[in-house]
Symmetry: C2
Subunit: 188 residues, 2 copies
């Protein structure tokens, strides 16, 4: 029996490597001893949900130098949402803000993406509550934004599913419609 177990060890090690996926997705929600969120270093290998350009929730003139907003979600959360249309505890969203460029290389009109400017996360903690963290353009652990920050009330009031803006994620909007998990008043 012991021999059989020893024979199996290399396969178990291989499984551990393979289970980790092609990349170190690092999609667990992790905190340090101070309660700060640890930067999700591999978010670019997560599932991308959408990108917007110059989006603003306040009326006003168009930004002449708009930023791109890129949204990623942790793979486990995405998989769960496809199955159920809701976000499990431990879900992590990353908002990556990048500068836009207009003319460069062979591009003549429109906008393409440039340097990183800011990273924020929106997470559903183990107790089911949501929290925001701001990392700026760095990778140091971040403390939770205070509950008085505008992002909390805005996401609670306007999120189409839970506190998330699924109305802006075209593929997930269809999932939520099928699963009937949309707050209808926020879905358009």
């Amino acid at each position: 029996m012991l021999l059989k177990m020893i024979a199996v060890l290399p396969f178990l090690a291989l499984c551990a490597v393979l289970a980790n996926g092609l990349f170190q997705n690092d999609d667990s929600l992790r905190f340090n001893s101070k309660g700060e969120m640890i930067f999700p270093a591999h978010y670019r290998e997560w599932v991308w949900l959408t990108s917007g350009l110059g989006m603003s929730y306040n009326a006003g003139a168009e930004d002449p130098n708009p930023d791109f907003d890129n949204v990623f979600v942790s793979p486990q959360a995405y998989s769960s949402f496809l199955a159920n249309g809701v976000w499990p505890n431990g879900s992590v969203f990353v908002l990556e803000v990048r500068a836009s460029h207009h003319q460069g290389s062979i591009n003549k009109t429109g906008h393409y993406q440039g340097d990183l400017e800011d990273i924020e996360t929106h997470v559903k903690k183990a107790d089911g509550t949501w929290a925001f963290y701001g990392f700026g353009d760095g990778t140091k652990p971040a403390s939770m934004k205070p509950k008085s920050a505008d992002c909390y009330s805005c996401h609670e009031q306007h999120g189409a599913v839970d506190t998330t803006f699924v109305q802006f994620y075209p593929t997930l909007l269809k999932v939520a419609q099928e699963k009937k998990t949309l707050k209808v008043e926020n879905s358009k």
Copy 2:
């Protein structure tokens, strides 16, 4: 020996499941008996590289109703590029074109993404040659675009790495700079 092998079988099966990842990434380049490329159904779970809005390589007025261009690459190709700065045979890129919307939900200015309009792929075949396939807004197998199509000459002339527009993929541009795989004349 046979017993040991039988004992190992469940672990091998588990490995196969785990190796497939959380999703069915379906990133193998597959063709049907007619030589048509089979639609890469799970490309939204691949690695996203960038999104542009209204990008055009021809001078002219800004498009009043610009489209978003979203670019994905197969995970194996991405992993190889991170390691080497070049694309392996079997690499698959997906260009997903979506309509943009201006005002909707709580958004007042800028642009967010809407319905799918078109999907094209750019692939490095087993023999190292590149080919383009157009799927439109459907999922039927697609025949290779003729070599006379503009996309071939444009990508050959202006690609920053091989025939690909790495100059527009901000994170990969840094990789290619480090690995010294950029065609310098096409990198800006």
